[in-house]
Symmetry: C2
Subunit: 337 residues, 2 copies
């Protein structure tokens, strides 16, 4: 059973282990600095499906299957699955997971979805409601681009602050053990809206939410940046990353030594023409599941914070002149004991 | 701390009370059989907002404020809010709740969203992660119609199996007491897809999911329809209701004595021209929060099952020739002790 500490944080009474994780990525992600870390690289954007939306559904399904297989478990061992994505009505998850027959909680936190899923899954396990649960999410450049922006054939210009939606998926299987990287604390974010109206600067729009959640975590726990080997956000990109560093500095927290952003890590920002970096639910999901968690398992990180940041806009809200509300959810993960 | 029973059910160790609920509805819902039960009736579809989407956001915000006020609590007493809706990227919740500053978990279960929120909120409270939490959802005829179907001005014909999206919102505040109607069991549904492709027959598409969850609940708990005063689904409408009755009958469970559907209750099906009944996230939310929970508080029902049923489609999935996956989540609620 968990214990509340401070305003928005819970400490799990029995830390919940991430038994296994799996990642799937596309060709552009293969060509980035983390390319060799992903379990599966899709040969093309379609992956033998008729539409990109069906491809994205398949990515979630296959990521879940692979993570469960790596954990040495069966689909029927999963008591709950938490899943969502950026597509209208979360059809990546709804259609992708229908064959798996796992009790399903659909979630929507935009690019914070993976961390939202890890938060809820680990609380249900610690609370005694489940032995195993799985969290998954995805994004696909082609589905996001045509839903949110322009037909790909149009070849629209991108602004310098724009981010590139990652084609990727990550899934993690959770259970009751600390012999693997395990979740110790959860800090759940509030919706923050500072009035940014530029849908091509989502890093800037989300940075205040990441700031609020990270600062609250330190205030709630009494911990500081030095207590962590890595503070990982996803996905603020270069613009939002710099805003977060500044905002934390103003509060007396220097995070420059051990902070990075999934959107800045997954691509070579100098050569891959992604402007401010990667984004999309699948960005932090694939970076965490493909790169960070295996590194923790190897002992390369002892304690990390993973902060998922989401922009809660839609095309309709933008057309109606609305600003871009942000949300950030945080989990603290410790290496195997 | 909860205890798993059977395949998909948990029994809460300490049942979680529904401290207060609030409901908001529109003019057509006011004219229905439950019209006098809703806390707030909006004078028109706009409710002083510039767009229907902003109206829907306001409905969620005001329903939450009112429910918390009725519970004698403050916004700052809420440790979590669970919310979602039918709009792309759940902007009803994202924009409606941004001023409330409550740690936010966005969820998407289509019309099962209210029961999904009650499920997760009550598990977090029973697990010791929260003292109070709130669940809310909404739907609005005008936002749903133009997003999913046609511009209202077009005046499209409706098929006999079509349902009418309820303009309504319901919010419920949960806490640690059994001196009010309280949640005792939770049965979480799997995604079920029987291949129905008619987006104008969502009751038929969702009925197999309701059947699977209800049957599983009885199998997991050893209980039967006679153990409940009311089995409430929302929203199968007349078509899905009749399918569910038949499917249960085939398994030896006669639910005809104590079964009803929120979509069949909220409108006068003979006079209000809604064809197969009401639908939308706000249907079971407003029926439960406005009509059923107050009746339980008055002692009119002793034990009920509330089953939220969602159709996990989007306009994109329909255009791509996909069928309509369904999901159904169940909570068992007992009257005050």
């Amino acid at each position: 059973m968990g214990k509340r500490i401070g305003k928005q944080t819970v400490r799990l009474e029995h830390p919940v282990g991430i038994l296994a994780s799996a990642s799937i990525a596309g060709q552009k992600e293969k060509d980035g600095p983390l390319g060799s870390d992903f379990d599966v690289i899709m040969a093309d954007a379609e992956w033998n499906e008729e539409t990109w939306e069906k491809t994205e559904s398949k990515m979630q399904k296959e990521a879940v299957r692979l993570a469960i297989q790596k954990a040495g478990l069966a689909l029927s061992d999963m008591h709950y699955i938490f899943a969502g994505d950026l597509l209208n009505q979360c059809i990546g998850a709804g259609f992708g997971l229908r064959e798996l027959h796992i009790p399903y909680f659909g979630i929507y936190g935009a690019c914070s979805t993976m961390i939202e899923g890890l938060s809820l899954a680990s609380m249900l396990i610690d609370g005694g409601f489940a032995d195993h649960a799985v969290a998954v999410t995805s994004s696909h450049f082609c589905t996001a681009e045509r839903q949110y922006r322009m037909p790909l054939e149009y070849g629209g210009q991108r602004t310098p602050t724009a981010q590139w939606t990652v084609t990727g998926s990550g899934a993690a299987v959770l259970g009751k053990t600390v012999d693997v990287p395990h979740i110790t604390h959860i800090t759940t974010g509030k919706i923050m809206d500072m009035g940014v109206k530029d849908a091509n600067n989502m890093g800037g729009a989300m940075a205040p939410a990441a700031f609020d959640t990270l600062l609250t975590h330190f205030q709630d726990t009494g911990l500081s940046p030095a207590d962590y080997d890595l503070i990982l956000t996803g996905d603020l990109g270069t613009v939002g990353r710099d805003v977060l560093i500044d905002l934390m500095q103003n509060e007396g927290f220097d995070i420059t030594d051990n902070y990075n952003d999934g959107g800045c890590m997954i691509y070579d920002l100098d050569t891959q023409d992604v402007h401010a970096g990667g984004s999309g639910c699948g960005c932090i999901a694939s970076v965490l599941c493909g790169h960070i968690l295996p590194a923790m398992q190897r002992g390369e990180f002892r304690r990390i914070l993973a902060i998922g940041t989401g922009a809660l806009l839609s095309t309709t809200s933008g057309l109606q002149g609305e600003s871009v509300p942000g949300i950030a959810h945080l989990v603290a993960i410790s290496g195997k004991e």
